[in-house]
Each structure stands twice: as structure tokens, then as C-alpha cells.
């Protein structure tokens, strides 16, 4: 009897008092907020202020270094955007590029990751060498590829026409509109597949190997093991990789800028935005384009997260 009374009394005392300021947990919370406040302030200043400024500017007709006074034009920039053939075409080009590159990068990256995951001699150096394309700055490799694609002195034409006799005459890979997008997709795939392979490799290494032994014992074929074991367990890594790559591809700028410049039929969303903001100094319209790009990318992110939902247990 008395023991129970004692323990309940102790328990009663141990329960935190509602609304009290003295509890340790609450004091820790306050301290946490106080310590985080400076960092949060910096983030707000550096990230949110320009963001809101861009959104605010998109409702005006601001121009850089212009003597004309800035006036509010409401939604005019956005309605212009909806009828702007150039912008709509750039969305199509960007999405086409994204689908092409993400699909190929994912397939090739997965294959490479699985190969590099297995044990063989020289695996270490292989993993290091694999990352070289990713390590070269995009601008440098884009210029390099542009020269390789050249229709007079390019090495690709030389190999295909003169050495391997696969083609009968040189092709202008970059200039011909029919081969432009595949050509630049090849550059991006070459550059980014190692990155995808790396992310997937990280996911593969977390999968324990004994489940494969158990599957062998149960008589599962390699294909079944891949479909039933590897892929499901790899889902979080696949989700991360796909989101990364899709977002990067949707925002692509540097490789297109170096290889095509402001050619009308190969403008991506980012190049279109840059053209309006920097070349035309049109901050109002450029801001509207930036917000529109943000929305387009947002749609993709929501789609991904919805369809590839990973339950958190």
C-alpha cells in the first residue's frame, strides 16, 4: 500500500507542470530558437528577399538602368507570357531534353552502378575514373564537345566517316535542327551518368547481400531477384536521383548556351529567362518568366513525390 502511494507521489511530481517556465525541455527549446535565429535571418535575407523582390518585380515594367519610372502593370506580364510563342516553345524544348536525358542517364547509371557494385580487381580506380566527366566544368566540356561535333574538323565526323565508314559524309550535328537536341543530350548524358551512377551505387551498397543468398536458395532467377529485391529496396535512392536529375535538367543553361547560344529553336526556359533579364534588361517580364519556370518545376516535383511516395515508417 504505502509503496504504491510513494511511487504515485513521485510520478506526480515528475510530470511536467503545464505552463511552467522552469522545465528543462522548454528552456532547451527557447535556447535552440535563440541560437538558430541568426542563421535563419541570413537565410531569409539571402534567399527570401531576392525571391520576393523578383515576384514583386514581375508585376511591374521595370528595366535595368533605365530612366523611365517603374509602374505597376498588374498581371500583364503573365498574360503576355501565356501567348508568348518563344516561351512556350522553350518549355517544350526543355521537357523534351529532360525526358531524353533522365531516361538514358537513369538506365545507364543503374547498369554502371550495378557493375561497379560487384567485386572485381581495379574497382577502386574504376570508381575514381568513372567520375572524371562529372568533374570537368560543364562549360569546358561543352566547348570541347562543340569542337568534337564540328562538321569540318570534328573528331566524331572523322571517326564515323573516315575510320569506321559508318556514315558516307559529315553531318553538322550542332547546326542541323534534326540532330541538335540528340547531340546535346548526348553531351549531358556523358557528363551526368557518373553522378547518377554514384547516387545509385550509394543506394545499392546499403542493401544487405544475404537476402540474395536467401533468394538463390529459394530458386529465384537473377532477373527475378533484380525486380523483386533490388528495385524495391533501391526506391528511396531512385527517388532522390530522379528528383535531382529532373530538376537539374529542367534548369539546364550552361551547355545549351555554349553550344547553341540564343538560337530560337533550341532555347530552354533558363536561356529564355536570361535573354530577357540580361540581354534585354527587361526585369519585369524576366521576373514573370522566372516565376513561371518555378511553377513548371514545382509541377514536376509534386508529380514525383506523389507517384513515388516513400512511406516513412
Amino acid at each position: 500500500m504505502s509503496v504504491r502511494a510513494e511511487t504515485t507521489g513521485q510520478l506526480a511530481r515528475a510530470r511536467p507542470r503545464a505552463g511552467g517556465t522552469g522545465s528543462l525541455a522548454e528552456r532547451q527549446n527557447g535556447l535552440a530558437y535563440a541560437l538558430l535565429a541568426p542563421a535563419l535571418l541570413v537565410v531569409v535575407l539571402v534567399a527570401f528577399v531576392p525571391l520576393f523582390q523578383t515576384i514583386a518585380q514581375s508585376f511591374t515594367n521595370a528595366r535595368l538602368a533605365s530612366a523611365r519610372p517603374v509602374t505597376n502593370v498588374g498581371l500583364k506580364n503573365y498574360t503576355d507570357l501565356l501567348t508568348d510563342g518563344g516561351f512556350l516553345h522553350s518549355i517544350i524544348v526543355t521537357v523534351e531534353f529532360t525526358i531524353l536525358t533522365v531516361v538514358f542517364e537513369f538506365l545507364l547509371g543503374l547498369m554502371i552502378a550495378m557493375v561497379v557494385n560487384s567485386n572485381f580487381r581495379g574497382r577502386g580506380p574504376m570508381r575514381a575514373a568513372m567520375l572524371v566527366p562529372w568533374a570537368i566544368p560543364t562549360v569546358v566540356s561543352a566547348q570541347m564537345w562543340k569542337w568534337m561535333y564540328h562538321d569540318i574538323y570534328g573528331v566524331i565526323n572523322d571517326l564515323l566517316v573516315n575510320r569506321f565508314h559508318i556514315l558516307s559524309s559529315n553531318i553538322a550535328w550542332v547546326a542541323d535542327p534534326a540532330t541538335s537536341i540528340p547531340a546535346i543530350a548526348a553531351v549531358d548524358i556523358w557528363k551526368t551518368t557518373p553522378f547518377v551512377a554514384l547516387l545509385l551505387l550509394a543506394g545499392l551498397q546499403v542493401i544487405p547481400s544475404d537476402i540474395y543468398e536467401a533468394a538463390d536458395v529459394d530458386g529465384a532467377s537473377k532477373v527475378q531477384q533484380f525486380m523483386r529485391l533490388t528495385l524495391p529496396l533501391l526506391r528511396p535512392a531512385i527517388l532522390v536521383t530522379l528528383i535531382f536529375r529532373t530538376l537539374d535538367s529542367l534548369r539546364v543553361f550552361d551547355v545549351f548556351y555554349v553550344m547553341f547560344g540564343n538560337r530560337q529553336d533550341t532555347q530552354t526556359m533558363a536561356i529564355y529567362a536570361q535573354q530577357n533579364i540580361v540581354a534585354f534588361s527587361d526585369l519585369g517580364y524576366g521576373g514573370a518568366i522566372s516565376v513561371a519556370i518555378f511553377l513548371v518545376i514545382g509541377i514536376f516535383v509534386i508529380t514525383y513525390v506523389t507517384f513515388l511516395k516513400v512511406e516513412t515508417t
Binding site: S66, I152, P177, G261, N262, V278
Partner: protein, 523 residues
């Protein structure tokens, strides 16, 4: 005991590793930093480099900052400031000035021999000395030969007048430079006094620049009137010509000889015929041989090319003096369709993706008979290690109607309105744009002068012999004055339209659209 010893040894080897890595990094960083400074030193007089050849591509193609292979990050979109947005990889070849400045010391005719470290004295020194207390910030040429020349001139100026010059090399890319200027002017910054201005910028930068007419109007009369007119916005002269580029035709004189062609083409039809003859003859030996290469990519350089095509065949100049859009006319459509017909026949299919460096590389490798480009090419193709050294000559671009034309490139010098030392700045500009200094820059850096008397000097002609046979080329300017700060949009409309035609569309269908876009900007 054993564990401790092992821990100690691990600790020791870890420390050793960190020390080793740090020292290796520091050493390599120091070594890398030491590089650039050593280059100019070694580039000093390329000893006995006889004759004109020595000059390098310093004469930056204006809009077309060629992306020289060695040069700056391809990222820098070239040309035109705004237009710059038009991507052109990089910057003026001036950056690639690893090439030593040739300084021909012996000049026939008794004119003073110019060497890079010996610029001419300041003629107006007495006038300038009264402002000796002021300091001038000069946003000058990019790192390389241009910067070296600027340094020599600034030092001489300070020596003769006492005015201190703070020399800042501008970014290699024209686009970046324009963006930089816009920020300076947006903030009305006094940090900028004298600045280099591309030939297409006066229209958009004019509100922020000082009118140089009162003090330099007389000196301006010596320069080519077209350029002065281009730099005069609403009656105010906002830029003094610094050096002039214009489009010209480089050709392989050995090939012309081989196929018994007496002279370079005078009309576009002749060009087509000569190119066809040479290509048919050379194709057997070199399957990649192209008759005619130019800059056909969708960027500012194409606007320059297209202007030459139109102006030389009666097709107008995109817009007339008053701002009326004239691009949609039958002659323009005809010449554009003619050029479209060349692609795949005398011009390689890839030419619609070429900028300055691609076209130059094709020509310099011996794979083309004709090249349309800027004066800086001369310095490249006359280098001893060039495959075609000694086989190249220069002619005016063909013209089917009237005088041969060339689009004006080149840069000017302006003074910022927000400068706190305008008087000293103007005196500095007076010195830099004087005939003596123009001759010095022509001889030492192969920059094309903008003063007729300088262009006829013996020592200048020795470095740039092509100036002789290109004297009657009419300089045509792009419509930057009429379009003001909307020039980039106008140029974009033009080059995107022309690029579409070159890629296969009918000019008669594309030009009305371009006309419409331009009209929306003008009105």
C-alpha cells in the same frame, strides 16, 4: 602499451599526411599564381619576327569576341553588350594575347619606331597639367596585350601630366562588361571615369555619359564620320573612337592562282563561282573542303554578316536613320535566299552554328578558300606556325551594288556622367584617341585606326598591309542608335530570323515576321 603505441603512430602519420597535403596544395597554388605574370615577360619582343606577321589577334573583333581556344571560359557570351546575351563564347582575342607583341623596330621613312614600352608623349600635356590633383579610374582592355598597352599609356600620361590613372582591366566578355556598366550606372557610382564602349552601346548608355563635343569636338573631326555619327546620340558625342574593326574577306591567294582566277571576287555571284570552282577541284584531295565560311550562328555576329549582305545588294540596313524598319524588301529576301542556297554547296552545313573561332579554325586549317571575318584574323593566319602562312590575302567583301561595305566593329572611349574628375578624364581620352597614340597602337597591337591619316602611314601599313586595298570600304553601322536600349531585342529579332532562313526557311516568309518584331520595338 601496445595500443597506445599504435595510436601514437597513427596520430603521427595523420599529422604527416595533413602537413604533406597542405604543403603540396600551397606549392601548387603558388606555382599557378606565378604563371600569368611570367607570360608577359616571356612574350616580350618576339625577337626577330620580321614583318607584319608578328601581330596577334589583339584587334579584338568587336561584337565577335572570338572565343579563342586558349582563351577565356567559353561561357562568356560574346559580343554586344546586351547583345552579348547573345551567346558568344568569349571574349576578345586580346585575352589570348599570349602572343608577344611584335614590335618592328625598323620602319622605313624616318617615323619614330614604336615599341610597346615607349608610347608617344602627351601632346596636350600643358592643358592637362592643371587637373593634376584629380585621379581617373579607367576601365580598360582585358588582360593581355590590350592591358599591357593600356598600362604603358597610363604610365606615360601620369609621367607627363601628373594625373594618376587607376587602371582596371574590363571582363573579357562584352556581355559581362555591359552588365557591369549597367550596375555602375544604376547606382550612379563615381568609381568609373573613363570606360571602353562597344560600337553598339552608345544608344543605350548615352544617358549616363558625358557629352564630349565641347572639349573634343574638334579632335573628333579627324575620325571617320560614320563612327562619329554612330557615337552621337541626340546631338551629344558620347564616345571617341578608340579602334575600328570592320568585316573583310580573307582568301587563299595560292588557290586562286592554282585555278587561274585573276582577282578576288567583286560581286557575290563571282564569289559563288570562284568558290564552286575551287571546291570542286579540292574536294578530291580534301573531302571536308569548304568554299566559303562565315559566322552563321544565331548571335550578334550574324547581325553583322547579314548587314553586309543587305547593304551590298541594295537591301538597306535593317532600319533607316529615322528609325523606319526597312528589312522586309525584295532585295533583302533575294540575297538571304541566295546565301541559304550556298549552305551545303559552297558553305558547309555546319556554318549556321559557326561563330568567329569555328570559322577561323576551318580557314586556318586549310579547309576553306574564303573567310569573312574581322581584322584580327590577319595576325593569326600570318603566324609562322599557321598552315596557311604566306598564302592569305585580304579583299573587301563583294558587293553587287555600289561600294563594298563592312560592318563597323571596334570600341570607343567614353566618360561617365557620375565621375568626380571629368576634366582629367576628358584629357586622358584626348590623349588616348590622338593620332600618335592610334599609330602606336596600330603598330604595336595591330589595332585598326579610326583616323584616315593614321591608316595611311607607312609603319601602320607595314603591320596591316590590308588597310591599303580596303581604303574605299564603306563602313556600315548596325541600328543601335535608333533602337537605344532596346538594341539587343532588335538584334535578336534580326539574327534569329536570318538564322531561320539559313537553316532552310524562305526569306520572303520570315522577313515580315522580323519586320513586325522590329516595328514593335521602334514604336
Amino acid at each position: 602499451m601496445d595500443l597506445e603505441q599504435r595510436a601514437d603512430r597513427r596520430g603521427f602519420s595523420r599529422r604527416a599526411f595533413v602537413l604533406g597535403a597542405l604543403s603540396a596544395t600551397t606549392a601548387s597554388v603558388l606555382a599557378a599564381c606565378a604563371q600569368p605574370s611570367s607570360q608577359p615577360a616571356t612574350s616580350a619582343p618576339a625577337a626577330a619576327q620580321p614583318t607584319p606577321a608578328a601581330t596577334k589577334p589583339a584587334a579584338a573583333a568587336s561584337p565577335a569576341a572570338a572565343a579563342s581556344p586558349a582563351a577565356s571560359p567559353a561561357a562568356a557570351p560574346a559580343a554586344s553588350p546586351a547583345a552579348s546575351a547573345v551567346a558568344k563564347p568569349a571574349a576578345s582575342p586580346a585575352v589570348a594575347a599570349a602572343s608577344p607583341a611584335a614590335s618592328p623596330s625598323a620602319v622605313a621613312g624616318g617615323a619614330p619606331a614604336f615599341t610597346i614600352n615607349n608610347p608617344p608623349p602627351v601632346a596636350s600635356a600643358d592643358q592637362a597639367k592643371q587637373f593634376a590633383s584629380q585621379q581617373v579610374s579607367y576601365y580598360g582592355d582585358s588582360v593581355g596585350l590590350g592591358h599591357d598597352i593600356d598600362t604603358a599609356l597610363s604610365n606615360r600620361f601620369t609621367q607627363d601630366t601628373g594625373i594618376k590613372i587607376n587602371l582596371v582591366p574590363k571582363p573579357a566578355s562584352a556581355t559581362d562588361t555591359f552588365a557591369q556598366y549597367q550596375r555602375f550606372f544604376q547606382g550612379q557610382s563615381p568609381d568609373l571615369d573613363v570606360l571602353m564602349i562597344d560600337v553598339i552601346w552608345p544608344g543605350s548608355l548615352a544617358p549616363n555619359l558625358v557629352d564630349l563635343n565641347p572639349k573634343l569636338g574638334d579632335a573628333a573631326k579627324q575620325h571617320y564620320p560614320n563612327i562619329i555619327d554612330n557615337n552621337t546620340i541626340n546631338g551629344a558625342l558620347v564616345g571617341m573612337p578608340w579602334f575600328g574593326d570592320f568585316g573583310m574577306l580573307f582568301y587563299r591567294k595560292d588557290l586562286l592562282q592554282k585555278y587561274n582566277i585573276a582577282a578576288p571576287p567583286k560581286t557575290w555571284d563571282e564569289l559563288e563561282q570562284q568558290a564552286t570552282t575551287i571546291t570542286n577541284g579540292e574536294k578530291g584531295a580534301n573531302a571536308n573542303f569548304a568554299g566559303f565560311v562565315f559566322q552563321g550562328n544565331a548571335y550578334e555576329g550574324l547581325t553583322c554578316n547579314a548587314l553586309e549582305w543587305l547593304a551590298s545588294t541594295g537591301g538597306g540596313t535593317f532600319m533607316d536613320e529615322s528609325g523606319q524598319v526597312t528589312i522586309n524588301n525584295p532585295q533583302a529576301a533575294a540575297i538571304l535566299n541566295k546565301v541559304r542556297g550556298w549552305i551545303g554547296t559552297i558553305a558547309p552545313r555546319g556554318v549556321t552554328g559557326y561563330q568567329e573561332d569555328e570559322s577561323l579554325n576551318a580557314f586556318n586549317g586549310g579547309n576553306a578558300a574564303f573567310l569573312r571575318s574581322w581584322p584580327y584574323v590577319w595576325g593569326v593566319v600570318t603566324k609562322p606556325d599557321s598552315v596557311i602562312n604566306g598564302k592569305v590575302d585580304v579583299a573587301p567583301l563583294p558587293a553587287s551594288q555600289g561600294q563594298p561595305v563592312g560592318t563597323v566593329g571596334g570600341w570607343q572611349l567614353g566618360v561617365s556622367k557620375y565621375s568626380k574628375s571629368q576634366d582629367a578624364a576628358i584629357e586622358f581620352v584626348r590623349y588616348l584617341t590622338s593620332p600618335d597614340v592610334q599609330a602606336y597602337r596600330a603598330v604595336v597591337g595591330a589595332y585598326v585606326p579610326t583616323i584616315q591619316s593614321v591608316a595611311s602611314r607607312a609603319d601602320v601599313l607595314q603591320i596591316e598591309p590590308f588597310l591599303q586595298n580596303l581604303q574605299n570600304v564603306q563602313r556600315v553601322v548596325r541600328p543601335s542608335k535608333q533602337t537605344g536600349d532596346r538594341y539587343n531585342e532588335a538584334s535578336t529579332a534580326i539574327f534569329q530570323g536570318v538564322n531561320q532562313v539559313l537553316n532552310g526557311q524562305d526569306a520572303a516568309q520570315v522577313l515580315p515576321g522580323v519586320q513586325q518584331r522590329l516595328q514593335r520595338l521602334a514604336g
